[in-house]
Symmetry: C2
Amino acid sequence: MSLRDDVKIFKALADENRLAVLMLLQDGEKCACKLLETLNVSQPTLSHHMKLLCDAGIVDYRKEGKWMHYSISADSRERLHEIIESYLKYNTGCSCCCKEEE
Amino acid sequence: MSLRDDVKIFKALADENRLAVLMLLQDGEKCACKLLETLNVSQPTLSHHMKLLCDAGIVDYRKEGKWMHYSISADSRERLHEIIESYLKYNTGCSCCCKEEE
DNA sequence: CATATACATCCATGGTTGTCAATATGTAAA
DNA sequence: TTTACATATTGACAACCATGGATGTATATG
């Protein structure tokens, strides 16, 4: 739960093609070939993107014969909400910095 | 509310220094000079990071004389939660793609 | 006006990232 | 074992990005 880990997750989300993949996975597991039909990228590029999503823990994979099945990781949504909460909550109370110091 | 806009937001969050800024802003508005004291970056670099956070709508700014006061945008938290929800929800129901097609 | 302070902008540089062609790996079928 | 297919890996390249020094801009003060 370090800044570095959170950056890794946000980086994985910071790409149009990867967000498009997540949209496609919303109605359940899909194999790479199916994703490839929809997205306008080459097969190596898709493989690259899926690796980033998996490494960040956002997407799960399941190998079945020749096919790779990808799905949204079960706990990724809750984890993301927690991360958002840890950076964007703010405690009320003025702490204007410059005025008091001069 | 396009993929492009969401990518912009995630990119703004995908940096250690910018996440550190958000942590510092959690107890309220702070001016750039105060942020500069804590973070190990040069003044131009901090200015660059703050611009990205502001452009993404995550941070608000308020100019007061020579000082720039930054604060976490009031609605950024809720907006982020909505974005997360729009990409990471998943509707149950099997849609295994390869099996049915062969 | 001259000076000092707080911050933004410009510019150059090194590192990172998205992309695809070529190739490798692994699996299934003939 | 040969062939075909699905996916991963490698290599190369262009685009993007984080960084800081130099400089510009705006504001306050003397």
